[in-house]
Chain length 303, copies 2
């Protein structure tokens, strides 16, 4: 059972009866709602961050953990082309956490929140053996215009923002620029909105679990296959495996109609065409003519 | 540092700049939003449920864990007089969880969701050493009419629904009716809406951490004191300590204006007047003329 299988099983059980305001449910970066009368659609997403699963306390400084918890949620809003509005934080402190750690955690968290006009509006507090966070992000998007994973069509071109593999390299070496991008990934919020509004992207998602796995998910959702005719841009010093299979880069993966002419970069972030969507077995991805195995981060592989 | 202190410190740091749609932020059972143009207010709440903190796998059957996770979120919506609409579930499975456990967990969860027309619209999946859930509930309430903790005024009468201490007794004995109410607490959703719409309650919250602690929180939020002139109704077989300090009863604690004449019960659930709100040191609570110490469940006492 892998994560895709588990999600499919849960979705099959969670029928959507009586959910007339639900535009998109299980299976994308955010759920999409249309509250009756509202001028915009609303986005909602939740993500876990757990000690010794998503971070290590002897490696990750408290402010970096706080930053990364919020960035993880913001990146899901970016992937939908939305604007973040509110967040809720569930936080279970561990026996080792002291007031200083908590203060630094909230400094990293709230600095990023302010930068993106995101208001911490509530949450839950508990204690547990391992420090545990769950971030809930609530955002808005122009009505019917949120970007989704399921809109890619044969002939669309496939793009990634930025360079990949930096976070994976940073986690391995814990120094230099790679460690910095691991600790402070930049959620691509302005780019997400530009993709939705101006570039008319047909599909998008954020690269949280690695290109090889996430592109497979986008293709599964859209019922299409993909051919990559070049390797993605690689973070200086990282390997191609870091770039293909390393998670937590939080760049955007998106598809544009065949005739779109995107700029080479947006606000200093490169936009690189790496391949094309094609008909074929849903979820099948090729790189330079060979099958690309989904080796990204899947908690449930081999379960 | 207790939970109230920690919440106060976080709230002081989380300023609300740029949050014109946020009706109520940190400090109540739910955050309250008014999306531009929407015909209703929206409620959002999140709650953690962690193995060996909130349940034990050798005591709690999987379906009961699933039920209780959702009930915890639904009860927060009930406390605001709202109607549940959508939920998101973050779930980290532990090494010991197998497909059968997961199926039973979702059976308990989704049976309750269907009963309250609540649609599972998304979430996150991970693995961790301990089974970890975070439930996100999204509900709606008539505009400006959600019940809050901060509206109690001197002279208001204090009420509780049902009988208290059953969950605490059930957790201790793990048999009989008490164990059943521990495993399947009934979120008081219809009562919450009745309190908001018909009885015009001035304040309300759910009893998740015990009457002695939760009444103190309601008084702190409202800037008032409270005198209880009788003990609350006690679950058969439970002690008065179970009823005063035991958590997870998920009954409603609420205040009504002095002249209100509520029925003795609503849909078979008793409504019992136990005291009166008075001026005084905010958060001070007396029972039969003596100070009532807040001994309910506080993860952070003595931290």
């Amino acid at each position: 059972m892998d994560e895709n299988d588990l999600v499919r099983r849960i979705r099959a059980k969670a029928r959507r009866r009586g959910s007339r305001d639900l535009v998109m449910g299980i299976g994308d970066d955010c759920a999409i709602f249309h509250p009756p009368g509202a001028s915009e659609d609303w986005l909602l997403t939740t993500d876990l961050v757990i000690e010794d699963v998503h971070f290590r306390r002897d490696w990750h400084p408290a402010a970096g953990v706080g930053y990364r918890v919020l960035a993880r949620g913001l990146s899901d809003i970016a992937a939908m082309g939305g604007a973040p509005r509110y967040c809720l934080l569930s936080l279970a402190l561990a026996p080792w956490t002291d007031a200083r750690w908590v203060n630094n955690f909230f400094r990293g968290f709230l600095d990023l929140a302010r930068r993106h006009q995101t208001v911490l509006a509530g949450g839950d507090l508990a204690r547990a053996a391992k420090l545990t966070c769950d971030i809930v992000l609530c955002g808005s998007a122009p009505r019917g215009r949120a970007l989704r994973r399921d809109g890619a069509r044969p002939g669309d071109h496939i793009y990634v923002s930025g360079v990949l593999g930096g976070s994976s390299l940073g986690l391995r070496t814990r120094r230099g620029k790679a460690w910095k991008v691991h600790l402070r990934p930049e959620p691509r919020l302005a780019l997400g909105r530009h993709l939705a509004k101006t570039l008319k992207a047909t599909a998008a998602m954020d690269l949280s679990d690695g290109l090889s796995l996430d592109l497979r998910r986008l293709c599964l959702a859209s019922g299409v296959a993909a051919s990559l005719d070049r390797e993605p841009p690689v973070f200086p010093g990282a390997t191609i495996a870091d770039a293909l299979d390393g998670g937590e880069d939080y760049e955007l993966l998106f598809t544009l109609p065949p005739l779109a002419k995107p700029p080479a970069s947006f606000q200093g972030v490169s936009l690189t065409r790496i391949g094309v969507i094609r008909k074929g077995k849903p979820g099948a991805v090729e790189l330079l003519g060979r099958p690309l195995q989904p080796r990204g981060w899947d908690h449930f592989r081999g379960m």
